[in-house]
């Protein structure tokens, strides 16, 4: 696994998970929408900060999240 990096993608706001766009095992490119959060009647996407494969989705739809919570892991 030399050279592999694990990226923990965090919620940038406190809100509710509205929609999960990627699942574990999906390949993603930088900028792809992983999860859409809703807070204060604003839908806000969380984008992949890098290309790779989604290894974990740590939230479910309608779940409340706090700013800084890890929502997705990309390997």
């Amino acid at each position: 696994m030399k050279g592999a990096t694990v990226e923990e993608v965090k919620a940038h706001i406190t809100g509710t998970v509205w929609k999960i766009e990627k699942k574990a095992g999906d390949s993603v490119s930088e900028g792809d929408v992983l999860v859409i959060l809703e807070s204060m009647k604003m839908e806000m996407p969380i984008e992949a900060p890098c290309s790779g494969k989604v290894t974990k989705v740590l939230v479910s739809e309608a779940q409340p999240v706090n700013e800084g919570d890890v929502v997705v892991v990309i390997d």
């Binding site: 940038h12 809100g15 509710t16 807070s39 204060m40 009647k41 604003m42 309608a62 409340p64």
Partner: protein, 258 residues
Amino acid sequence: MKAALLQALRTRHLGRECWFFDTLESTQTTAADYATKGAAHGALVWARVQTAGRGRMGRTWLSGDGSLCASVILRDGVDAGSAFQWSFVAGLALHDVITARIGPGAKLKWPNDVLIVEASGGARKVAGILCTLELQPHPAVIVGVGVNLGFDPVAHDPTLAGRAAPLPREDAGAWLAELLLQLERRADEHLRLGALHTLAETRARLAFVGEIASVKTAAGELRGRVLGLNDAFELRVEDEAGRAQTIAAADVWPAAAP
């Protein structure tokens, strides 16, 4: 209808580029798609009829004959970190237009729905907003607005009785022109005077302050006294044990009598 809008339009940017549809699933979905393809600041998507109007968290926004359904793309001054503040800017603009028409009975239901508060203490929603942030290719906030102009949602969904109401029917194009003007003015103020100005203006129009409310979050229902907004625009509620709680996402209504 589009001609009526263009004739009444007094904005610099908002609505100057306009796509009008007789029937559309959702102006918000279409405008978000146009935003990702690079549509300019102020571009407007407007439909006479929506067949799949969207509310928050995937809910349906009911509309029908007379409803105003439109979404406008804002780019100037938008960044991802403070994007949620535009949700309040839009609420203020909507409140401005409704207050100019019906007088002082309109209030903002946090974060940005507009209610008519009745003398009995009841409150019924007459207009709502849903915002969407798009980050690609450049940040944009899409402000989607639904206004019950002569349309009574209760006639289509009796479960909304006591919670929703129509506004007087009038020309949707002229109404939309006024809304775009007030939104442009509120957006200018927000950028010139800052978020604390928008916060103060919202606090001055907030519904249910000091009242016992039912606050429904993804984690459950909280019953308590509405204290107001903190400096992050979050709702502060004192629960029944006297503890102040901070709420970032919820649906707030007057609590039913115990």
